[in-house]
Symmetry: C2
Subunit: 214 residues, 2 copies
Amino acid sequence: MNKPMIQIALDQTDLTSALKVATSVASYVDVIEVGTILAFAEGMQAVRQLRQNHPDHILVCDMKTTDGGAILAELAFSAGADWITVSAAAHIATVAACKKVADQFNGEIQIELYGHWTMEDAKSWRDIGIKQAIYHRSRDAELAGIGWTEQDLDKMKMLSDLGFELSITGGITPDDISLFAGIKTKTFIAGRALAGEKGAETAAVLRKKINQYW
Amino acid sequence: MNKPMIQIALDQTDLTSALKVATSVASYVDVIEVGTILAFAEGMQAVRQLRQNHPDHILVCDMKTTDGGAILAELAFSAGADWITVSAAAHIATVAACKKVADQFNGEIQIELYGHWTMEDAKSWRDIGIKQAIYHRSRDAELAGIGWTEQDLDKMKMLSDLGFELSITGGITPDDISLFAGIKTKTFIAGRALAGEKGAETAAVLRKKINQYW
C-alpha cells in the first residue's frame, strides 16, 4: 500500500494570503488544495498562480462539482489543476463528463462524499474509472462536535475494499491517524493545523505516525 | 399565489461576456444569477460588478454550498447577493450556518435539490426557516435526454405543499410551463434561451404562459 501524502487545504478568502501560506508550507506538504472558499473568492486565477508558484506539487481544485461537469472540469484542469473534486450528489452523467475531461489532461477526479450517497453509487463511480474519494466530517458537523464514528470507519473500509484511495479530512490530529490503518489512504488533509507557527512540527508528527501505520 | 419571476443564469466563463449578457437581458428578467461556472471562473468580483450594474434586480449566487457555510455565505452576501444556493447534500449544520448569515443580510437561502435528498430532509430545511428550493433536471442529465417525469412533478407538489417556493430549471421551454401549474413557483430559470437573439421574444412568451397559469 502506498504511503499517504499530506495535503494543505487553502481556504483563505484572498489570494495574497493563500499564496503566502502555500509558500510557507510547500517544503513539507505533497499536495496543495485550492479550497472551495478560495476558488469562489478569487476564481481560477488562484489555481493558475499556485500552479506557477509550485510546479512540482500535486494541485487540487476543490469545486465539489455538482453539475455542468465538462465546463467546470475544463476551467480547473486548463488552469493547472491535477485533481478536481466532484460531489457525491452529482448525477452520474456529470461525474462521467468530468472524468472525460480529466482524461484529456491526465488529471484525476475525487468524489466528495457528502449527502446520502450509497455503496451502489460508489460502484457506479468505480465502474466509470474513478479511483479516488474524499471522506470527511463536514466542517460544520465538526463544529457541532460530531466525531469519527465506527460507522465512518466501516464505510471507509468498504470504499477501500472497492478499490478507492481515500483522502481523509475534518479536524485530523496526529492521534487520529491510527484509526485509519489498513485503509488505502491517498492523503490526509488539514488546513490551519499545517499552516500555523507549528505547521512544520505538525507535519513531522503526521509523517511519523504515517510511517508507523503504513 | 405570487406570479413566477424570470431568472437568467449567467454561466459564461469570463466576466466581460457575462456583463454584456446581463445588460442585454436586464429589461426583461427579474432575477440575475451568477452561475456556478461564472463564480468559479471569476470569483466574487462577478457578484460585486453585477450588483453595481443592476442595483434593482434580485441577484443570486449559485454556489451550491456543501460545506464551510458561514464563510461562503458571508463572501456572497457581502459582495451583494440577495440569495445563495446551498446543496441538498450539505449537512443541516451547514444549511443553518448559511441561514444565520443570510438573516444578517436580509438574504435568502435556496436549497439545490441534487442527490438522494428525502422529504425528511425537506422538513428539516423548513424547520430552520428555509423557504426556497430549486428543482431541476441536471444539465448533464438533460444532455443525456432525461426529461420531466411524473415523479418530478409529484415531488415538486409535495415540496410546494410543505411551503417551499420552487425555482424550476433545466432546459425549460414555454411549452413546459403548463406542467407546473398549481406549484408555488418562485422563478423559471433559463440561460442561453433568454440570452440569444430571440431572448426578449422567449421571455415574452414565458410571461404570457405564466399569466395563463398563475
